[in-house]
Amino acid sequence: MQVEASVLSISGNAHKVRRATVARRSRSRRRMVILACQVLVAVVALLIWQLCATEKLLDPTVISSPGAVFGYLFGEALEGRELWINTYYTMIATVISFGVGSVLGIAAGLICVQFPILEEIGDPFVTLMNSFPRIALAPLFVVWFGIGVLSKVVLAVSVIFFILMLTTIAGGRGVDRNLIALCRSLGAGPWKIFGSITLPSAAPSIFAGLKLGLIYAFLGVIVGEMIASEHGLGQEAMKYSNLFQMNRVLAVLFFLATITTLLATIMTMIERHVLRWQRL
């Protein structure tokens, strides 16, 4: 009877596994359809843009055209040195601010999760500082920290820090109390509970924060560069904007968006691996 019952429930699950394979196959077909539609949307959008420019429906000196933008990007820009040097400076600043901002933000968030009293004490200050329009502080940061890497890093960190801190706290708060009770009944200490329950529970929320933080790292750095900077893609875009060379501005921005997308994709891949238990 016992064995029979086990076999029953297990063969029931073998069925589930078979259904999963079928589901996976139809899911990959679905993914192909989605990709095809995405390519179509991009092509149509570019065609409309090109048409507006060549037929002079909109002023080509203002909106430029895909031909001019990509012509410049894949010709002069990628073959020259300016774009690469500026990319290098922007990337350095972004990586530093993302790293520093995330580490500090996650650490602050975890401290608040582990010691809720600190979160309560700090709450009004965090809310106040997070409400500060930090982008508007950019000119101030330039005065304080100069036109080098430091001022843009500080600006970006001031944005990322709060994103990571708040998402980490939200994640830590969502811990299943039953799991904590289980750990307590087993005699686990506070740090064991933190490492094996609190941290993994907060991980999905932390990853959401990291993905957002990456985008904001670029935003902070680019804005910093646009205000005043020696180097960087933001500074390059600003320069061509002042010269009214819209194809160059847009080429730089497209290039930047491509890099950001690439990094965001890598981040998603890391997330999928770490949180693989979630997708099943």
Binding site: M1, Q2, V3, A5, S6, V7, S9, I10, G12, N13, N178, L179, A181, L182, C183, R184, S185, L186, G187, A188, K192, S196, I197, P200, A203, L275, W277, Q278, L280
Partner: protein, 294 residues
């Protein structure tokens, strides 16, 4: 008591019926507990959850606590586990006051409490890991128990890939892998459908019966049927205030066959006697609940 019955036990006395002091594992002495609820009028209502409860549990006994929800049976179990404290009275567990994390006590919750980010086998080893069991032994015990509960082949599955019944099987494996001599269970099968419940009750009985020395089990449930099938003794609690209303010995022989037992007249006799005690509590509970709110 009927003689020569198919399922009735021939031994008149159970090993530890709370009568010989040496074999007493758990002693509850005049335990009372009350808590406060915010009432609609803005004040607080005092809820008398446990009122002067006293009983003992002997070594190797399987004792169920049944009663209407809100009678304080889970509060009592949590206090025995050391997860909370009672207002007054004394609890002695294996000669010591309760403390969370004792090595001789394992607790099984109503929810499976599997960590979603750990594979099934790692969930079973997790409890042993906290208890400090060496790594190689953890693996061996986990594999053996998973095999026993019918989850062989599902070691690498994540909890989200398992059905509710399978998850509770994994929780059983995790609990029994600890080899603790005292087992506290808080409605472990409460969330399962009737069929799965019966299968898991059977599994619990076979796991419990196979140990060299029988584990002492305190089992909280609101399902009288389940209590009768599993237990040596059933303690019926009344509601608001939670008093010990009846302490009934279930005289069925072991090993038991839960499915076969249900059809016998002896089973029905025991069941209806207990139902007479519990049923009045369930019926009166609505009026007393209204009283508490007022």
């Amino acid at each position: 008591m009927k003689q020569q019955s198919a399922i009735l036990e021939t031994l008149p006395e159970l090993p530890g019926d709370g009568k010989s002091a040496a074999s007493v594992v758990l002693r509850i002495e005049s335990v009372s507990h009350e808590y406060y609820l915010d009432s609609a009028g803005g004040g607080e209502t005092r809820v008398h959850a446990l009122d002067d409860i006293s009983f003992t549990v002997g070594q190797g006994e399987f004792v169920s606590l049944v009663g209407p929800s809100g009678c304080g049976k889970t509060t009592l179990l949590n206090s025995i586990a050391g997860l909370n404290t009672v207002g007054s009275g004394a609890i002695t567990l294996a000669g010591q006051p309760p403390r969370a994390g004792r090595n001789d006590v394992a607790y099984m919750f109503a929810t499976d409490c599997l960590l979603p980010w750990r594979r099934t086998i790692d969930n079973v080893t997790f409890a042993m890991e906290v208890r400090g069991v060496p790594q190689a032994e953890r693996r061996d015990r986990a594999r053996h128990l998973l095999d026993r509960v019918g989850l062989a082949g599902f070691e690498m599955a994540y909890p989200s890939q398992l059905s509710r019944g399978m998850r509770q099987r994994a929780a059983l494996a995790r609990t029994f892998a600890l080899k603790s001599p005292i087992l506290l269970m808080d409605e472990p099968f409460g969330a399962l459908d009737a069929q799965t419940k019966l299968i898991l009750e059977q599994l619990l009985l076979s796991l419990w019966e196979e140990g060299e020395q029988r584990t002492t089990v305190l089992f909280v449930t609101h399902d009288l049927h389940e209590a009768v099938i599993l237990s040596d003794r059933v303690l019926v609690f009344s509601r608001s205030p939670g008093r010990l209303k009846a302490d009934t010995r279930i005289p069925f022989r072991r090993p038991r066959d839960p499915l076969g037992m249900q059809g016998t007249s002896d089973y029905h006799e025991v069941f209806s006697k207990l139902w007479a005690d519990l049923g009045t509590e369930l019926l009166s509970s609505t009026s007393s609940a209204a009283g508490a709110v007022r």
